[in-house]
Assembly symmetry: C4
Homo-oligomer: 206 residues x 4
């Protein structure tokens, strides 16, 4: 995939996520590595379904610095920068999406402790490495005033052995981070995790 | 933005709101200021998703009089006229939308008193000036037989210090008015408030 | 509107109704009068969102006979024939739609007696002649094995003074018939009644 | 219908199913017989809404062997192979779809025993051979680690006289298989069964 195709697919996925209510009200975000292993990062504070290929920032994943800004000088990079880089660094993710879906908020509400246990669903097989007989633990962290302040909790969850099989982190009252080894796996994981959240919420509230 | 572009964006947003069920059955409405600081106001009693750029009325925001009617002589201006002007005058709004979403009706049902308290949601940050630790009070007023009869309650809510941070007013059994400093902020606020209503209803009814 | 435009609009509305889940699985239907005051009637047993302008039957509203069949000889006219003509004859409707929406089934479930009472909703004003302070009675009839066997109950409901202000009839376990004085009013009434059904169900089940 | 048209319709239906959430996260599947009575089978592990006409495998329905692989050598045939062939062999189906809809999971949850009883719904008439007064029994089988391991249970359900009138099998925690005598009937049955699942779940949980 060329870097332009990556940028176009990032825009296409943002539009698809928007239609499902995962990135409404300018919330949520997405990134993917380009051919130089830099991170293409969406801007903050804009309507995510209207982002165009030149609107991404090129970010050095080692330190988060801007290698090349968006074409529009009025744009600023997403606050997801540090969290996205943590998933890339700790889990070899090549793409991360950030969801503001209501189902992710309601799923996190169900977690009494620091994780949500998901079980008895064939769709678990849509997560790399899982079978449908696994009980899958998704870490649930506590929301903070600023998004970058979540980074310590994100890194702790990523290093926690209980969550070694998880490709998602839920944030209470906020949403979820979901990643994969490329954009297509991130798309699949995003669709699967949202299904798992919806199913777990539906079963808990009937 | 030219006035024609404003009219086109108004039509585009009405179509987007229609898809979400916020302006169905000819209900709901929208306005925005043009380059002369007059109000472009959608017509009443028509299918909102089918409105075209020439269908807007140009309204003097000082007294509500029609500066230039819609191109189609059969159209009449929305009854939202006085309410929209109140938000423009009291809050420096440059665009207001009126929603008939079911979630706004159900959210207003939850208010025992004259307001709905929304808390513990990251999406609060999508409202200008709010943090995710705020408890956000949205005024809830009582429905009246005719829409213009809501104006006194709307003006009282707009002047009420408790609601100084709100960009929305809920109307029991009816819907919501939501505004912003331009059309894009109104779009963002509309998406965020509907999310907040849906989340608050979901949490209250599980 | 020319008869071709009427046929095209009938097809467009069927597609819109399908997207909302009102005419799925080949269920539901629609009709409108043409310029000769004959009824353009959709065929039965076909995927409603795929109907094309030549697929309608031209029906004499006095006796239900076929004035001109659909272009495709394999099509048969909808079983709604007699019911649609009853609404046209008793209520001066010029267009009727038949919904299989889940919300209409669940709304009919709420009726202990022979009607559903809808109140405290601004959207009542979307029904011709109603205010938002009215308690609106929608007749609820009992389902029968064949659709035409509903006709006696439909005619009784149409003649019942309690339901003189209703533009809809609910059928238990089945759906709803909704009409208007032209296709645009039928569209508006369909959107409004489905909203009223959804709101009444949501308020009853929280 | 030419074989190319069949392949195009298979792709179109996958896109339609995806929009409804029935084949998200690369889950679900579809097949149809071609003019040689071989089975056109979708590939596994790919985003189902993006499948193109050359992506189907041509499968011998007698033994499941690949007559002609997909054009892309990287694709593998769906694990639904044996189950789809069972429905084709036992029930003269010419097309089968596999749904991962949440409504099918929640409907299976309602079954205390080895079947779900569906009744009191007009939409039952959308299933070939049923009236709206029938109590329709849909078999519910138990999920297994691998999809092909479901085949014995599927075959037992297909041979069970109680389920002779069913065109669907529910799999606990997983989804449903739904078939018809051609692609159009499979589409109709898919829409009708999902409606029946949603209605049964809604009535059970209010």
């Amino acid at each position: 995939m060329t870097d332009l195709e990556t940028r176009e697919l990032l825009c296409e996925l943002l539009r698809a996520f928007y239609v499902r209510g995962w990135v409404s009200g300018t919330g949520g975000g997405i990134c993917a590595l380009d051919s130089d292993r830099n991170m293409l990062l969406a801007p903050t504070g804009v309507h995510k379904e209207r982002i165009q290929p030149p609107d991404f920032f090129v970010i050095d994943t080692r330190d988060g610095s801007v290698v090349r800004p968006a074409a529009d000088a009025g744009l600023r990079p997403s606050e997801c920068n540090a969290i996205f880089r943590a998933a890339i660094g700790e889990r070899e993710a090549a793409s991360v999406m950030h969801s503001h879906a209501l189902s992710s908020v309601l799923a996190a509400d169900l977690a009494a402790d620091d994780h949500l246990a998901i079980r008895d669903l064939e769709m678990l097989k849509g997560i790399r490495g899982l079978t449908n007989h696994d009980t899958h633990l998704v870490p649930v962290i506590t929301n903070t005033p600023r998004e970058y302040e979540l980074t310590d909790q994100v890194e702790a969850a990523l290093k926690d052995d209980r969550f070694a099989g998880s490709y998602a982190i839920l944030v209470r009252d906020h949403g979820a981070y979901i990643w994969g080894s490329d954009l297509w796996e991130t798309k699949r994981h995003a669709e699967v995790y949202h299904f798992l959240f919806e199913a777990t919420v539906a079963r808990a509230t009937r």
